[in-house]
Amino acid sequence: MNEKDLIKKYTEGSLSKKERHDLEKSALRDPFLMDALEGHEAMHAEIGGSNIGKYILAFMGVFGVVVGIGIMWWAVEFKEMNKQSYETNAESISLYSEEQREEVEHLEGTVLLSEEAEIINEMDVDVPSQEGESLNPAVGNDLVEDTLPVSNEVLEIANSSETSLTEVLRDEQPLTTTNVLNLNPYLSQTINEQKLEKIKAERDEDLSKKELKRILSHCDQVIQICEWIKQGKTTEADKAIWMYKKSSAVQQPYFIWMMALKELKMSKNDSAYNRLTLLSKEQSSLGLQARKLGLEVKAIK
């Protein structure tokens, strides 16, 4: 082994004890070798140390980037929240004018919003019907017809031998204008709808695993959020709603619906009303629920 290799191995600590001792012994009578050894040892330590410094710097850099991305993400999220709020307000303004137009039409003998409210209230009285038939009321109204597909699904599942609709809907309470701020009926209804959706999805053999997972995730999230709103845990609900919005299972109408319910629970009636007005355009049972609730909020306002 030449001196270069010996010095390299010495600084790396890979020499045997005897080789090490022999080299050190040689260094004692050879100042050139002694200085070379000491220089390489110092260089080795320095480079090793500077590598640690580099790792620390690299870690700090990565940490900084992560924090930066986090801040940017928050900035984007807040911007989106604000944007959505503006959009909701803008849409509600247009809806207000639509409502005003409808009121004018009412004067000309067309369907009244207030009449719709009465019809809906009549329907609500029937909601607790143990057989669930009133969920598919023969009100003869276009709006109610929108609920048919979902109601039929509910009935289908409810009438099956394995699931009792009575059992699923036992939390249901009649909705009146006086207890609108006590949202339990609406929340229960949402929870139960989601439970039924889950059962239906689990039974559906045609669903792909991915789709099934998405629906179940959606249902679980909505159920949990509604439970929290019911219990008045608005902070948890708020976080969960935003998490839900970012999840792959998100359904925009449900997001708006839960936001509205949460705001009502927090007595933010104006904001909730705007959301409900927006949601009432949805051609679904959720849209109908939003319209019902919106009218009640409007009456309270």
Binding site: E3, I7, E24, K25, D35, M43
Partner: protein, 181 residues
């Protein structure tokens, strides 16, 4: 093409000085570049500067070899390397004369072999305690520097210093006893 791998340093120097042999110079470079860079790093404490200084020295080396009569190449090169570094540090304020070097120490009889023989024992006993302790641990128990540090509790620099000074004292003592005889 001559293979200089097995040639002595002095033969290589001669080949460079007389025949301006590039192969001989390449062999010198191969043998000593790594050592010189180590020395330069020890003096300059900066890898970049050490590399530059070493490169400059090796660039000038054939010329220096031809100009000076180099007897003990290893010791001479060490002086050249130190001078190059000192010139960097002191900006040419002070330079060690190239003829001011002495050949490195020869092995001290008995000590290098780790044998506590008669001529050595009285000299060893005359050493200061720290030096004696380090010399015994290193040369007779054949421990490494680090092990001597662990055994004695001295720091590494102290151990090296005690060993160097103890060795020098022993050499003087042995020379004295030989001349007395």
């Amino acid at each position: 093409m001559t293979n200089y791998k097995r040639h002595s340093d002095e033969e290589l120097v001669s080949a460079v000085a007389v025949d301006t042999s590039e192969e001989a110079y390449a062999e010198i470079y191969e043998r000593y570049y790594y050592m010189v860079i180590g020395v330069c790093y020890k003096y300059l404490g900066d890898k970049g500067k050490a590399e530059d200084t070493t490169a400059e020295l090796f660039e000038r080396l054939p010329e220096l070899i031809r100009k000076q009569s180099v007897q003990y190449f290893r010791a001479w090169l060490y002086t050249c390397a130190r001078n190059a570094c000192l010139m960097q540090l002191r900006k040419k304020k002070k330079e060690i004369p190239y003829d001011d070097f002495t050949p490195f120490d020869q092995p001290i009889q008995f000590l290098e072999e780790g044998e506590k023989e008669l001529p050595l024992i009285p000299c060893l006993e005359a050493l200061p305690l720290e030096q004696k302790q380090c010399i015994e641990s290193f040369y007779f128990e054949k421990l490494t520097y680090v092990e001597v540090v662990e055994q004695t509790g001295f720091v590494l620099k102290q151990v090296k210093s005690y060993l160097q000074n103890g060795r020098r004292q022993l050499k003087k003592c042995l020379e004295r006893s030989q001349s007395d005889e």
